[in-house]
């Protein structure tokens, strides 16, 4: 079994873990991720869904 030893895989620092649930930062990320998803949908409209 490939045990994920502490040395094999990078582990988040306490700081990284903190930011993951730090409310003001996550509110900002909520906005950013939604924008990224919308951007991806725009790309899709440009490439896919097009008339042949």
């Amino acid at each position: 079994m490939n045990k994920p030893s502490h040395l094999q895989a990078p582990r988040p620092t306490r700081w990284t873990l903190f930011w993951r649930t730090f409310l003001p930062w996550q509110l900002w990320r909520f906005l950013v991720i939604n924008l990224k998803m919308l951007r991806m949908m725009r790309l899709e409209k440009k490439h896919g869904h097009k008339r042949r």
Partner: protein, 485 residues
């Protein structure tokens, strides 16, 4: 006047039917044929399976919605396509169905169509692995009922742990040819989070079993993400999350059998091992639902319409070729049957030309690598595009105009990693395109500006938002069509 029949009321079929009804005049019929009386928002089954949501929160009855929107609904399963009509019933194309409800259980009938969309999704092929599945020795979250009984078993384990017992959890995919690695990943991290929330994590050993060559492959050949000044493969992030959560894993694994209390595994290199468990949730491999097809004389033409795995052949390039020769052009664009132009497939029901991840087989020729996923977003986009093309064909166009190739489409995926409004997290991912295109994006096969991933609480909020938004949309409430797929 035309009649469009949609087989299946899942993400693809329900989306097709809803848009057909919106775009077609009332002089045209839209008929949905599906064996279950309810719609299931499958992504949230994960939360049902860890006891966070009741089954009722992820399903709703279809009949009242279809009645309100003037969509005919037959609670039945399709068994055979007769695209040239039947010897006794005339040349009009028909689908043979068997009722599963509406007081007509078991009764067979032919339903005529002008256009047909096969959106029957997967058959959950538990039989591929001895002992796999709810009728065997492991659990599943593929249907809301499966998820509800999985939750009961999970909560029983939690109770045992509260009394001081240790419990071993085996979670993953139950066969070398499975496709749902993303869902298995989501379940295992949610399970781990719930054990922590319930204060029993120290009593649990968790092992993830996957057919992926590396963690983070997800059946899309992995993805590369820009972060912290590096472009890193998804393997790094997934292994990191597993290390952080203390989840052991076995990759490149085929589950040979599931006995009471132990899975028997063989890996690509031939290593055999046993993983004992007190609780196992292992997803099944998928095949097509097994529709048959006949020509006007009654001769069996199933192999003309369907691939050997039961999925429907469409406008893809099915020529066998090695991984190095796969191209985006292999993937279908309009999902039309090459045999009959009024037949279409959407969602999981269409036969992909080949996997997305590199195919790997063991010495006995058994494939131990992911089959290609067709997740919710592409399934819905394909369903909508097929509907749009059928509307155009009904209005007199001679061929489909709109395309929805997975090689020109991106996917957004939010994989819950623990559900709590303040301490929960989810991995939010986008990738573009789904099928890597090494001509356009030579280094990584995807556009790095649109392919990203991040773990955080914001992702969990988005997942909750999606749950409510997509259920609202599926219920066809006011403004439903404005919600993107």
């Amino acid at each position: 006047m035309a009649r469009v029949v949609v087989l299946g009321a899942g993400i693809a079929g329900h989306t097709s039917a809803a848009f057909l009804r919106k775009w077609l005049g009332k002089d045209n019929d839209v008929v949905v044929i599906s064996p279950q009386p309810t719609y299931n928002w499958i992504p949230s089954n994960i939360w049902v399976g860890v006891g966070l949501m009741k089954k009722e929160a992820v399903v709703f009855p279809l009949a009242p919605i279809y009645e309100r929107r003037q969509i005919d609904f037959l609670q039945a399963k399709a068994v055979a396509l007769w695209p040239e009509g039947t010897p006794e019933g005339g040349a009009k194309p028909k689908v043979e169905v068997e009722y599963t409800g509406q007081g007509k259980d078991g009764r067979r009938e032919f339903v005529e169509y002008d256009f047909l969309i096969n959106a029957t999704g997967p058959k959950l092929n538990f039989a591929a692995t001895p002992g796999l599945g709810p009728e065997g020795n492991s659990h599943s979250v593929c249907t809301a009922d499966h998820a509800a009984s999985t939750s009961t078993a999970f909560l029983e384990s939690v109770e045992r742990m509260k009394k001081g017992e240790r419990q071993r959890f085996a979670v993953g995919v139950g066969h070398g040819g499975c496709t749902c690695e993303g869902a298995a990943f989501e379940y295992v991290v949610n399970l781990e989070f719930e054990l922590r929330s319930r204060g029993v994590r120290d009593k649990a050993d968790i092992t993830f079993i996957t057919n992926e060559y590396e963690l983070g492959d997800f059946g899309v050949d992995g993805l590369n993400i820009k972060m912290g000044g590096y472009v890193s493969p998804s393997k790094i992030f997934t292994e990191s999350l597993f290390a952080e959560r203390g989840i052991d894993f076995v990759t490149r694994a085929h589950v040979r059998s599931v006995d009471p209390g132990a899975t028997h595994i063989e890996t690509l290199d031939g290593t055999r091992m046993e993983i004992p468990f007190d609780f196992a949730m292992l997803l099944p491999p998928f095949t097509g639902v097994g529709l048959k097809a006949f020509d006007a004389t009654g001769a069996d033409i199933t192999d003309r319409l369907f691939a050997p795995n039961g999925f429907m052949k469409v406008d893809a390039d099915y020529a066998k070729k090695p991984y190095e020769e796969w191209t985006p052009a292999d993937w279908p664009r309009v999902y039309q049957s090459p045999a009959y132009p009024n037949l279409f497939a959407a969602g999981i029901a269409f036969a992909p030309p080949h996997p997305i991840s590199k195919v790997r087989t063991n010495d006995e020729g058994l494939m131990i690598s992911p089959a290609p996923p067709r997740t919710g977003m592409p399934s819905a986009v394909i369903g909508k595009t097929v509907a749009r093309n059928i509307v155009r064909l009904i209005r007199g166009e001679d061929k489909p105009l709109y395309t929805a190739s997975m090689a020109e489409m991106g996917a957004a995926c939010v994989a819950s990693a623990g559900a709590n409004p303040f301490s929960g997290t989810a991995a939010s991912m986008t990738m573009f395109p789904i099928i890597p295109d090494y001509q356009k994006y030579p280094q990584y096969g995807r556009d790095l500006n649109s392919t990203f991933g991040e773990i955080g609480l914001a992702g969990h909020w988005i997942k909750i938002l999606l749950h409510h938004m997509f259920l609202y949309k599926a219920k066809m409430k006011p403004g439903w069509s404005l919600i993107p797929e």
